[in-house]
């Protein structure tokens, strides 16, 4: 297969000199409980961010806020300097995609039909062309899911569904890719391929933000980490800067130990007594 061309840098981002997403004093609450509070960020194209934190830290909510899916209770998110709520959903969908954690489908769509849904934002005002199908096939190939194309989506295994869904968001050709625990259900080979692909996309100009649970994969693949706890951002920076036993213990509530990796990036494991 020929080398994939570099990802097209989208206009919305070029115009604003690479400023992709900015959040100011972002807060979101359900009833009395703040799911996300006082989050201010500036995330730029060309970087792969890993969003880390314990269960209930607000990772999913932050991704949904950054995508515009839910309106914040305080603050705002800006894309290219313009607040998200001033974009039409279809405009946003041509620029950003979100891969959700849960996937369910009650109708017998084929895997190909599901992946093809990723083209929808581009088909708002025009009919589909062979290029749309080519983009979907390329995305399916990239996630090793081309062989699943004919199968009915509801009949796929968890990992297979994950790969088809990933192909769907790749087929959307977004400049900003938000992934909510994309490595769930994937075997180690497909986890590595996914993260390599995310890094490749980021380094060809996209902004990729993935909520991850595996500190070590995050350390090895992501350019920057964002540590969250109780809805707040605890720290952000490179793996070398961030991964210290003290900070990790503060975030996760268990003692950690660091181990060197040949790449120079640290690995971190919770301290546990071997049986």
């Amino acid at each position: 297969m020929p080398e994939a061309p570099p990802h097209p840098a989208p206009q919305a981002l070029q115009k604003e000199g690479g400023a992709a997403l900015e959040a100011q004093d972002l807060g979101c609450r359900r009833g009395e409980r703040w799911l996300v509070r006082e989050v201010s960020l500036r995330l730029e194209g060309g970087e792969f961010w890993a969003l880390l934190g314990p269960n209930g830290a607000g990772k999913t909510t932050l991704l949904r806020l950054l995508s515009g899916e839910i309106p914040p209770n305080t603050g705002e998110v800006r894309l290219g300097g313009k607040p998200l709520e001033r974009y039409r959903p279809a405009e946003l969908a041509r620029v950003r995609a979100l891969l959700p954690q849960q996937r369910e489908l009650s109708f017998p769509f084929s895997a190909y039909e599901v992946a093809f849904l990723g083209r929808m934002p581009h088909l708002e005002a025009r009919a589909e062309t062979p290029q749309d199908h080519a983009a979907v096939q390329k995305a399916l190939e990239q996630t090793d899911a081309l062989g699943l194309a004919e199968r009915l989506y509801p009949s796929l295994s968890g990992g297979e569904k994950a790969r088809v869904d990933l192909a769907r968001v790749l087929a959307q050709e977004p400049a900003i890719l938000l992934l909510d625990e994309p490595t769930n259900h994937l075997d180690p080979k497909h986890q590595l391929e996914l993260l390599e692909h995310c890094r490749h996309l980021a380094h060809s100009g996209c902004l990729v933000i993935a909520a991850l649970h595996d500190l070590n994969l995050a350390s090895l693949f992501a350019d920057r980490l964002l540590l969250m706890k109780d809805g707040r951002v605890m720290a952000s920076g490179t793996a070398q800067e961030l991964l210290s036993p003290e900070l990790l213990e503060r975030v996760y509530g268990v003692p950690f130990q660091l181990y060197p990796h040949p790449s120079g990036r640290p690995l971190a494991l919770p301290r546990a007594a071997p049986s």
């Binding site: 959903p89 405009e91 950003r96 489908l105 109708f107």
Partner: protein, 341 residues
Amino acid sequence: MMTLPAVQKRLGRYRRAIWLVGVALPVVLLLAAGIGAYWIPPPEIPRVLLQRLEGYAVLVEIRFPRVLLAALVGATLALSGAVLQGMFRNPLADPGLIGVSAGAGLGAALWIVLFGALGWSYLGLPLAAFLGGLLAVSLVWRVAQSGPRVHTATLLLAGIAVSSVSGAAIGLLLFLADDQQLRSITFWTLGGFGGANWALLALTAPFMLLAGAGLLRLARPLNALVLGEGEAYHLGISVERMKRQAVTLTALGVGAAVAAAGGIGFVGLVVPHLFRLFAGPDHRYLLVGSALGGAVLTVLADLVSRTVVAPAELPVGVITALVGGPFFLWLLLRYKKEAYA
């Protein structure tokens, strides 16, 4: 890059299915216009019309309004069923789910018991049914609304609640009704096209056509919605606007359909399923295919209803359920492994 053969195959299935019901509809319309107490051979129909031969009056005054009404009502019910199944992401949804059928039933029963003696029921009854349906849906909508959003699961539950309250109220009216009213309400509930004429068609067709035209445009958003409301938003769909359109238009269309023909069950639930089994679930084809298929099925059911026990008529709702139910079961048994594996 070539399009995958599997994709071509699926596309072929969709096109064949649409083509099939598209050809079947005019054939069935002509058949149904010709068959009856006064037999007009279907191939002769154009000639009878053009040259005003014997049978012209039967065709124009009796058969056409009835056949057209049956086709429109069937198309509206099946199309609405397909849209609501997609919107609720639930294959068990039927057009009555948002409360419109039960509300219309209550409106009709109220009219029969309170004003049935007035003698202008041909106009008042459909109007009462239509208003009852719309009132029920707006109540359901209010309940499910919170701020700018409408919670779909609440919409479904509120629809069930309003439907059962309406059902209970109808039961109360049945208890209060005299024998003649009782008979009217029961027959109305089972549905039929015995009351079809041009005036009824002219009253109800605009709502059904308007609703149909609007609902067909929801195909793309409905495809995105199969993944969930959040994912539909990420694919660029204005989800709340779409839900509002789907509910308003199905309420108008189904309200008019039920007002015209009473409660015809089964068409709205089953026709979309038949299309999914034979062709596939893509709403761009499913909506058109369901509308055409619903028209075909309902015209046929009406044809059976007025011929098997002629000169009497069986309620159409009985036919659709009696014939369609076992047929659908057979299909499920046959295809369950392939389609819902």
